[in-house]
C-alpha cells in the first residue's frame, strides 16, 4: 500500500503474571485504511487496544504514531497524538448533554467560560461531514444505544483523532445500526482517517474491513486482505481448527407441549403482548426473530413464569402457567436460559456450584432439613462441568470469573441435564465467539433430538434459521404466522420482522 504508515506497533508484549495476553505483536496501519482485529474472546484484542490508547503499559515493545514514539500509560498522550478510542462499554456521562460529554477536557480547565457556541459549531460540522446526526443538547441517557455510540465517535473526532479504535463496536447495535456504522467508517476512511475495529464476527469483518489481522492466544496468526480471503478461512485461522456450526437433522415432532392461545400481557397501560398464539411440540424448535424491543422480553417473562398472562390461555405440559411460580416450573422440568446471563442467569458473586444448584436448592439431593449438602452439590457441578465442557473454573470458583461462553454453557447445562420437557433459550449465544456458539448449538440440537420442545428467541437470523423447525417473527407485541425454516430466506424474515406479514396465511 502506498499510503503512509500512521500507526506502528512494534513487538508489543504484555504479561499479566505469567500469562502473556499479548506476545510479540507487530501491526501497521496505513492512512485511510480500515483494519479489523479478529479473534475470539480472550485472544488479547482488548489488551492490545488498551496498550495503544495508553491505558496499559506494555512489558516490551513500542508504539509509534506517525513515526514518533509515544509515551506509554498516558491516555492524554495518545489523545494528543490523534488516537481516539470508542470503548465497548461507553465512557459517557448519562446525565450530561451530548455537547457537555464531547467538550469535557477539550478546553483549558482554568477558563472563566466554556465556549459552547464554538463547540456546538465544531460538533455540527463533524456531524454533517460524517453523517453522524445527533442532538447536541439531548441528555445522553435519553439516546438510543446507537446514538450513544455516535456520541463516542464524535467525541474522538472532536479531539481531532486521525486514528480511530473501536472495541467490538457492533456488540450492542441492531443490524440496521451496525450497517449504518460501517458506512460511516467508510466515509471516514475516504477522508483520510485510519480505523481499527475489534470483532469476532466474520460477517462484519468481511464487509467492513480492507485488511484483517487475526489474533489467537495473544499472537498474530495471520494477516489477510479481505478481498483475498473467505469467511471459512478466517474462522479456521481464528479458532485454530475447522469450526462448523452443527446442522439440524430432520425429526418428527411429538405431542404438543406448549400451547399459547390469544395471550395478552400488559404492563400498566402498555400492551406488551397482544393476543399471541403458538404451539410447540416435543422434539421441535420454534424460533422467534425480531428487532429487539418488540416484545421478546415480555414473551420470555411469560414463558419463564415471571409475568402472568392478563388474558388468554398459556399451558406448558397441560398445566396453566398462570398458577405456577418459577420454582414450580423448574420442578416440572422446564429449563430456562434467560436473555441476560449476567443479571438473570447467574449470580456473579456466587461460586459455580452454588449457581448450578440455585434453582433446585430445595431438592433433597442438595439440601436436607434446611441445611445445604455441599459435597453432592459440588459433585453435581463437577459433572455439569465435564459433560458440558465448561472451562476456566472449578466448582468453587466464582462464576463471574468465567468467560461469557463458559458461563452460558453452565447455565444451559444445568437446565439440559434434567432432560427438560421444555427449554426456553433466549439469546443463547449473544456476545459469544464462534467456538462457544458451536458448542451451545450442539447442546440445543441434542435437547431437541432428545424430545425437548424448544423455544428459541434470538436476534441472530443465521442462528434461528439453522436451529429452528418453524420460525415466527415478533413485531409490536404480535406474532406472525409461522414459516417453515427449510428454504426460508433472510429477505422474507426481514419483512416479517418489520411487521409485513399481511399477505401470509
Amino acid at each position: 500500500m502506498s499510503e503512509p504508515v500512521v500507526l506502528h506497533l512494534d513487538s508489543v508484549t504484555k504479561r499479566f503474571g505469567s500469562f502473556a495476553a499479548n506476545d510479540n505483536i507487530s501491526i501497521t496501519l496505513h492512512r485511510g485504511e480500515v483494519v479489523a482485529l479478529l479473534g475470539e474472546n480472550g485472544a488479547g484484542k482488548t489488551t492490545l487496544m488498551n496498550i495503544l490508547f495508553g491505558h496499559y503499559v506494555p512489558d516490551e515493545g513500542e508504539v509509534y504514531i506517525n513515526g514518533s514514539k509515544i509515551a506509554q500509560g498516558k491516555p492524554k498522550e495518545a489523545i494528543a497524538a490523534g488516537v481516539g478510542m470508542v470503548h465497548q462499554h461507553f465512557s459517557l456521562a448519562k446525565n450530561l448533554t451530548v455537547l457537555e460529554n464531547v467538550m469535557t477536557g477539550t478546553e483549558p480547565l482554568l477558563g472563566w467560560k466554556s465556549d459552547t457556541a464554538k463547540g456546538r459549531q465544531k460538533l455540527r460540522a463533524l456531524e454533517q461531514k460524517f453523517g453522524l446526526s445527533v442532538d447536541a443538547d439531548a441528555r445522553v441517557g435519553d439516546l438510543s444505544v446507537g446514538e450513544q455510540q455516535r456520541v463516542e465517535i464524535l467525541k474522538a473526532l472532536y479531539n481531532d483523532a486521525r486514528i480511530l479504535i473501536l472495541d467490538e463496536p457492533t456488540g450492542v447495535l441492531t443490524q440496521q445500526e451496525a450497517e449504518g456504522l460501517f458506512q460511516t467508517l467508510r466515509v471516514m476512511a475516504q477522508d483520510g482517517l485510519s480505523i481499527i475495529f475489534i470483532s469476532h464476527k466474520l460477517n462484519e469483518v468481511m464487509k467492513g474491513a480492507d485488511r484483517v489481522v487475526v489474533l489467537r492466544a495473544g499472537k498474530v496468526i495471520a494477516e489477510r486482505a479481505t478481498s483475498q480471503t473467505s469467511k471459512e478461512e478466517l474462522a479456521e485461522l481464528m479458532v485454530g481448527r475447522r469450526v462448523e456450526r452443527p446442522v439440524r437433522e430432520a425429526s418428527t415432532p411429538g405431542a404438543v407441549v406448549v400451547r399459547a392461545r390469544d395471550v395478552v400481557v400488559q404492563a400498566g397501560a402498555v400492551t406488551r403482548l397482544s393476543g399471541i398464539s403458538f404451539d410447540i411440540r416435543a422434539g421441535e424448535t420454534l424460533g422467534i426473530v425480531g428487532v429487539s424491543g418488540n416484545g421478546q422480553a415480555a414473551l420470555c417473562d411469560l414463558v419463564a413464569g415471571v409475568v402472568p398472562a392478563d388474558s388468554g390461555a398459556f399451558e406448558i405440559d397441560g398445566h396453566p402457567v398462570a398458577q405456577l411460580t418459577p420454582r414450580d416450573l423448574s420442578g416440572m422440568n422446564v429449563g430456562r436460559t434467560p436473555e441476560d446471563r449476567n443479571t438473570q442467569g447467574a449470580v456473579g458473586e456466587l461460586t459455580l456450584w452454588e449457581n448450578a444448584v440455585l434453582e433446585r436448592i430445595s431438592d433433597p439431593r442438595f439440601s436436607r432439613q434446611g441445611f445445604l449438602r455441599k459435597a453432592p452439590a459440588r459433585a453435581y457441578c463437577q459433572a455439569l462441568i465435564e459433560r458440558f465442557d465448561v472451562r476456566g473454573g472449578t466448582p468453587n470458583s466464582r462464576i463471574s470469573l468465567l468467560s461469557g461462553g463458559n458461563m452460558q454453557k453452565l447455565i444451559l447445562g444445568r437446565s439440559l441435564v434434567q432432560r427438560p420437557v421444555f427449554l426456553l433459550a433466549a439469546q443463547p449465544t449473544r456476545g459469544l465467539d464462534e467456538g462457544a456458539i458451536a458448542a451451545i448449538h450442539e447442546d440445543i440440537l441434542a435437547a431437541r433430538k432428545g424430545g425437548t420442545a424448544v423455544l428459541l428467541v434470538s436476534e441472530d437470523l443465521d442462528e434461528v434459521i439453522s436451529l429452528s423447525d418453524r420460525i415466527m417473527a415478533i413485531h409490536a407485541g404480535q406474532l406472525s404466522p409461522a414459516v417453515d425454516a427449510q428454504g426460508v430466506d433472510a429477505r422474507q424474515l426481514g419483512l416479517m420482522m418489520a411487521g409485513e406479514w399481511g399477505g401470509m396465511r
Binding site: H55, Y56, P75, K76, I79, M85, H87, H89, S91, L92, A93, K94, N95, L96, E100, N101, M103, T104, G105, T106, E107, P108, L109, L110, G111, W112, K113, S114, K155, N159
Partner: protein, 314 residues
C-alpha cells in the same frame, strides 16, 4: 388564632430566616460540591463544629473576624484532604469514613477548645459581625430591614451560591467536576484526572462547610459550645437532595427550612401553653421530610456518587 398568621408579617421573623439559613447555605453548597464530584461527605457535622470552634478561637486570640473565617476554611480544607485521602485514594466506604470524620472532628474541637479555654461558668465571647445595611435597599419598608440588613457572611453565602451555580454550569472546570461525578471513566478518557478533581472538590466543599460552622460563632452567636451544631450538618445533607444538586435550589431549601424553624420558635410563644413545645421543635424536620419527598422524586443523582474510582477498572 390570628396571632399565628400575624407572625408571618413581622420583620423579625424574616430577618431571622436569613440568619438561620446562612450556615445551612454554606454547608449545603459544600456538601453539594463534594457530591457533584461523586463523593458523599458525611464529615460535614464534625467539620462545621470544628470550623465554628477554630474560627471563634482565632478571633478570640485577637484575629480579625475575616481572618477567623479564613482559618475555619483552611481547617475545613484539611479535613477535606483527610476525607479525600481515605475515600478517593484508598477507596474506602464514604459513609463510614464520613461518620468517622464527624466523630473525630467533633471531639477534637472540644479537646482543643478545652485546652485553650479552661472550663468557666460563663463561656467567653467575641465581638461578632455586625449587620450591614445595603444602601437604598435597606431603606425599603418591611423588605429592607427584613432582607437587606444582614451581616456580611450572609451576603457572601448568597454570592457563593450564585458563583457555584455559574461555575458548575458554565466553566470548563465545573464541567470536569460534573463529569467526574457522573462517570469518572469518561473523565479519564477525555484526559481529565478524576482523582485530582475529586480532591479539589472535597477540599473546597469542606472549606465551605467549616465557614458555615464559623458563621454560628462569629455572627449568629458570639461564643462556642461543643453541642451547638445540633444536626445542622445532617440537615445540609438532606438539603442537597432537596436541591436536586443545584446551588440555586440549595438557597431555596435552606430558606424554607429556616422559615419553618423561625416560625416554630415564635409559635412556641403564642401556643406554648396549649401544645407541648417539643411538637414545635419537631415541626421543621417533619416539614423538611415532606418537602424532600415532593421535590426529590425527579432528582438526577450524580451517577458515580459513592463509587470509588480506580484507574483501569471498570
Amino acid at each position: 388564632m390570628t396571632d399565628i398568621f400575624d407572625i408571618l408579617f413581622t420583620v423579625g421573623l424574616w430577618s431571622s430566616v436569613l440568619r438561620i439559613a446562612t450556615p445551612l447555605i454554606f454547608g449545603t453548597l459544600g456538601a453539594l460540591l463534594c457530591e457533584r464530584a461523586g463523593v458523599l461527605n458525611l464529615g460535614i457535622e464534625g467539620i462545621m463544629t470544628f470550623g465554628a470552634m477554630i474560627g471563634w478561637l482565632a478571633v478570640f486570640q485577637g484575629a480579625d473576624l475575616w481572618v477567623g473565617l479564613l482559618v475555619a476554611a483552611l481547617a475545613g480544607a484539611l479535613f477535606g484532604l483527610l476525607h479525600a485521602g481515605l475515600t478517593v485514594t484508598l477507596g474506602l466506604s464514604q459513609h463510614v469514613t464520613g461518620l468517622g470524620i464527624t466523630l473525630f472532628a467533633s471531639s477534637f474541637s472540644y479537646y482543643i477548645f478545652r485546652i485553650a479555654i479552661p472550663a468557666q461558668n460563663t463561656p467567653p465571647t467575641v465581638e461578632p459581625f455586625q449587620p450591614l445595611d445595603i444602601p437604598v435597599l435597606s431603606d425599603l419598608p418591611f423588605v429592607g430591614p427584613a432582607l437587606f440588613s444582614q451581616t456580611a457572611p450572609t451576603y457572601l453565602a448568597i454570592g457563593i451560591a450564585i458563583f457555584l451555580a455559574y461555575f458548575l454550569a458554565r466553566t470548563p472546570m465545573g464541567l470536569a467536576v460534573r463529569i467526574t461525578g457522573e462517570n469518572p471513566h469518561a473523565a479519564e478518557a477525555q484526559g481529565v484526572d478524576p482523582i485530582r478533581v475529586r480532591y479539589g472538590a472535597v477540599m473546597a466543599g469542606s472549606a465551605l462547610m467549616a465557614v458555615g460552622g464559623a458563621f454560628l460563632t462569629l455572627s449568629a452567636f458570639n461564643s462556642f459550645f461543643p453541642t451547638m451544631m445540633q444536626g445542622r450538618g445532617w440537615i445540609c445533607i438532606a438539603l442537597v437532595v432537596f436541591s436536586t444538586w443545584k446551588p440555586g435550589r440549595a438557597i431555596l431549601g435552606a430558606l424554607l427550612f429556616a422559615l419553618f424553624d423561625a416560625y416554630q420558635l415564635r409559635l412556641q410563644n403564642v401556643l406554648g401553653q396549649v401544645v407541648p413545645y417539643q411538637i414545635f421543635l419537631m415541626m421543621p424536620y417533619l416539614l423538611s421530610i415532606l418537602a424532600l419527598v415532593i421535590m426529590s422524586r425527579s432528582a438526577r443523582v450524580p451517577q458515580a456518587l459513592m463509587q470509588p474510582y480506580r484507574k483501569g477498572e471498570r
